[in-house]
Structures are given as C-alpha cells and as structure tokens.
Amino acid sequence: MTLARRIIPCLDTDGERVVKGVQFFNLRDAGDPAALAARYNREGADELVVLDIAASRDHRPTFLNTIRRVAAELAIPLTAGGGVANVDEGRAILRSGADKLTVNTAALRRPELLTELSAEFGAQAVVLAIDAKRVGKSWEAFVRGGRESSGRDALEWAIEGTERGAGEILLTSMDRDGTRSGFDLELTATVSERMTVPVIASGGADTPATFLDVFTQGKADAALAASIFHDSVQGLGELKCFLDSQGVPVRLSG
C-alpha cells in the first residue's frame, strides 16, 4: 500500500475560458474548462485545479459558474482559487463544488486568513499557492499573479503557512512556468523536504522524464501542468505508464 504520486492538470481561466501564458504573461485561449475537465477525468487525472487568474470582483460570479460546470464533469477532487481574501469567498468556492481552495496574495498580506480558512473548512481544504521566483541563492514569494515581490522568502513563507493551517502547498516556479524546461528540482526539493504537508510542484513540465525527476529528485508529492496536457503534447495515460515503469507509485486504473 503506497500513497500514489498525483498528476494534476491545471486550468488557468479568465473566469469562463481556459487561458495559458508563458511565465505568467502573454495569455492565449486554450479552450472550454468543462470540456477539458471531462477529458482529464476520463484520461486518468488524479485531481484538477482551476484558477481564476483574472481574480477580479466583476469576474467572480462567472468563475463560480465555471467551478460548477467543471465539478459536474468530475469524479475526482477539484481545487479552485484566485483572489480568495476571506472565509465567505472561500465558502462560495467550496459550495460551488470545489473540494479545496487555493489562497495566495491575500494570505501574504494577512497570514491569519490561513488560520481562519483552516478552522472553518479543515486543513485538508486549504492549499497555500506560492509563486516563487529565484532571487540570488533563494526564492521570493511573488503576489498579484507574479507582478510584484512580497519580499518574503518562499521557503520561510511555506513553513509559516503550514503552521498557520494550510494543508497543502502548491509551489510554482515562476522561472520555469510555461517554458517546458523541466520543473525546478532544487526549489521543489528544498521546500518539500522541510514540509509536513504534501507539496504540488508546478512550472516547467515537459517530457515524462521531467515528471520522473520532480518525483525522485524534487521529492514532490504531486506534479501540476497545464499547456502540455491542453495541447495534447503529453497524454496522461502514457505519462502514468512511464512513471509506473520507472517505479514511481501512480494510480493506473480509472
């Protein structure tokens, strides 16, 4: 009996359409979220993440509707987030059909938010998303969709975040995001080794070998990717068969 390493497709949305950028910018349309969700559910995704990258108040009702449409297609867990700043906004996301919610900028501005969300919904429903960018020998946590540095060290913030109640870390390498140059193994291993909660590695996914590396050298509990799945560059089934053949525990049966 082994806990499987998870493969998680991510849908970045502008509210109602899936978009994809390179290093967080230059967005382009990548399809209908519900249609992609149905496909990934069928092909063996272990979980799905839907992020509202616009995260503006005007978009919120549209995003909640997207969550409902996506959840209706899934028999696997759904994580959703983007701009959640208080318990009521978190509840709206969970009530729309998500099992977990991500928080990022608002938690850096007011870390007590993690404690409040965890007390209300349980640590298993609170995912701390950290956008990390290398600065010198370490990484800084960026906010506002990667637009500005929070000035906080990403590792220290991850540790504080879990102490405050986050049940999982979604760790994105801004340097690798959208580049298809492999996950940042050093960042992932540095954070994962210090964490008492699972770490989802994100940013840089490419070949099956890059996933193997992030599970072995990067010590990730889960790996997230977007464009390689949306564009069918990489099939989920083949990827998991490859990992299985390399001795990584993965869920192969539907």
Partner: protein
C-alpha cells in the same frame, strides 16, 4: 415497499454533500437532503457525508437533534453509509475533539495519524481487504481510492473489512449488518468509487425488496 429508491443525505453543512449527490445522480439514484429529525426518521436509506472537524460535526448533529434519529435508523435496519468524517462519527470519540462524544455505535476511538508521514493523508491510496465485503464487491486488488484526512480509526474489530496505511494501518472500510462506512471518498474516487456507491445502492435495494 414500492417506487424508486430514494437516498436521504444527512444535511448538516458538510462540504462534500453536493459531490455525493452528483455521484449518486450519475447512477440514476434520486436523493434528498435530510436536515430535520423527522426527515432522518422517515428515510429508507441514509448517507452521512462528512468533511471537516469531528467536534463541529457532533455538536451540529446534537444541536439539530439528529443524533437520536440516526442511531434509531441504524438499529432499526435502515441501510446507512458513512463517508470520511461520517465513518469517524460512528465511534465513541476522537482525538480531534476529546471533549465531544461520537455516535458510539462502533466501539473504539478515532486517533491522529502519526506525524512520521506527511499530513493530511491526501491523495490516492490502496486498500487491504481483510474479509469478504458487500461494499467492495468487484473492486480489483490494488485499486486506488481518494483520501483526505488527518485522523483515522485504528481498529473497528470484527466490523473492519479493509484497511489502508499511512504511517500506521487504519480502518478504510467497515460493515456491520446494515451499517457501512468508508474513510475514503467514493464520490471522488473515479470508477472504483462509483462501484462502491453502486454496491451500497444494490445492498439497499435488495434490503428493501426483501
């Protein structure tokens, strides 16, 4: 009895209730939410979903006067399925909230999973079936189910039908006559999860027509 089977989901604010509704709807099963003692007492089939905190769940069930009708339904033979926290609620108490008492239908307590493994136990894990089970009928060996919890029952005695391991071996599924419960989330566990729900529905259907 006649008419299509309807499953009553105990409604107390559990986050996963809509997911369970959708999963049952995919199997063509009609559901209703039971939020009052009368609604629970009138149910012919019950599901106790659950995500969150043991103490909060027990206090909510208590303040809504749902504890007695749930116990009464189980003892009178109504098929019931507890999910995740809905399994833990069947025990006498939990380390998560030592001052609150559980339904105390299954002897024993719920413990914190050891910190030697990453917590919460989050993701897909395999079961070890320890005895024949109506709930796990047709589930292939080695199948993965989705878990998301930090507390677990370590022993359910004769009721245990399957265990799982995350730092320690714990009860993943239990059965006692008309009472069924799983620590994993069948509503989030893909095809095998759907099969577990279908097995419960089949048991409940057979029981009704018996």
């Amino acid at each position: 009895m006649s008419g299509a089977m309807k499953i009553s989901l105990v409604e107390y604010g559990a986050g996963n209730l809509p997911s369970v509704e959708r999963a049952l709807a995919r199997q063509g099963i009609e559901t209703e939410r039971a939020a009052t003692p009368d609604a629970v007492a009138a149910a012919s089939v019950l599901v106790l979903p659950g995500v969150g905190h043991f103490g909060q769940l027990m206090r909510t069930l208590s303040s809504r006067s749902l504890l007695a009708p749930i116990r009464e339904a189980i003892s009178s033979g109504v098929p019931m399925l507890g999910i995740c926290l809905g399994l833990q609620a069947l025990f006498a108490s939990s380390a998560e909230a030592p001052d609150d008492t559980g339904l105390d239908i299954i002897p024993g307590t719920v413990a914190a999973l050891p910190v030697t493994a990453k917590l919460p136990h989050m993701g897909w894990n395999q079961l070890r079936q320890v005895r024949p089970s109506a709930l796990l009928e047709g589930i292939p060996a080695g199948a993965y189910f989705y878990f998301a919890h930090s507390y677990a029952a370590l022993d359910a005695g004769e009721s245990t039908v399957a265990t799982c391991e995350h730092g320690v071996e714990f009860v993943a599924a239990l059965e006692r006559e008309n009472l069924f419960a799983v620590q994993f989330h069948p509503e989030k566990s893909g095809d095998v999860g759907a099969r577990v729900l279908a097995n419960f529905v089949a048991y409940a259907g057979a029981r009704r027509s018996a």
